[in-house]
Symmetry: C2
Subunit: 180 residues, 2 copies
């Protein structure tokens, strides 16, 4: 079965700083038409910064969309045309003050492919060095150093409520366990 | 440090079927103002349907936002006021034709808390029985039965590109390994 939906018409609703919105009319595989609301986003990176002591450098920040303060791994939106690994290095320093010797790509995934084209590239950052004064003063972010095993427990208990943090830390831990 | 941003003004841009959009002006902790583009979503569920043979019942579907066909775990948007577990049972039958005896909540997480309030509730579904003729004819979805170990390999190789599928399957596998 050919599952592809062809776009018949596309209407721009909003062009924003972080997200834009369009509404597509599509032709379904059975010939009927349907509408699709599509959020456009440049893409983002997330970083699992792992200290040699098996601790994760995490950030706590207020998220207006969620209406609460969340404990997450560092992350950020790609600048236009920016290479994802360069973005990961930049965001890691800006949010935490740490610089990474090695940056290894863990995976790239869509966060909400039902309505958003946002692709998230996730990296494991190791060989970390703290660079005093390199944190971005404009970021309202608190750094929290958490044992990887404690992060795993927090995920199983439901204390971590951010999908990229759950994905990234579970995969990093699974690779460490496999000795890769 | 108080990280909370207070909303000064909120402007509605679009009210849609799946997503809505508003732009908030917020007061930052340092007293400066900033804008936040917020995508509103009712919330969603995802299900890791695990057969006794350690195989996962997955779905392949075309995603207009991604512009490609993705292999994912079953998922869907909450109807207004719908209980997440009831939604998970409904979506599992509609998309795959399987009914679950046990539905265990794995975690609830924000998918993109930087701009979206979408909360995803993920369940492990076990005790599965196939109900002939119960699949929804309107869903353009192909069912694929994949060994859990193969799903783990596909995640590590980057062949699965959907965040909820990565999160859900990694956590289900980690709980099985821990014998929980």
């Amino acid at each position: 079965m050919d599952l592809v939906e062809k776009i018949i018409e596309s209407k721009r609703i909003y062009d924003g700083k972080v997200v834009s919105l369009r509404v597509d009319t599509v032709r379904l595989p059975d010939g009927k038409d349907a509408t699709r609301e599509i959020v456009e986003h440049r893409g983002a990176v997330a970083i699992v910064p792992l200290l040699d002591s098996r601790q994760v450098v995490m950030v706590r920040q207020y998220r207006q969309a969620a209406g609460e303060t969340l404990l997450e791994i560092p992350a950020g939106t790609l600048d236009p045309g920016e290479d994802p690994e360069a973005c990961a290095r930049r965001e890691l320093i800006e949010e935490t003050g740490y610089e990474a010797r090695e940056m290894t790509r863990l995976f790239s995934s869509y966060l909400s492919p039902g309505y958003s084209n946002e692709m998230l590239h996730t990296y494991l950052a190791t060989g970390l060095t703290e660079k005093t004064g390199r944190r971005d003063a404009d970021e309202f972010v608190e750094v929290a150093i958490v044992e990887l095993d404690e992060v795993m427990d927090m995920i199983r208990r439901g204390d971590i409520k951010d999908a990229k943090t759950i994905c990234g830390c579970l995969l990093a831990e699974s690779l460490l366990r496999a000795g890769k």
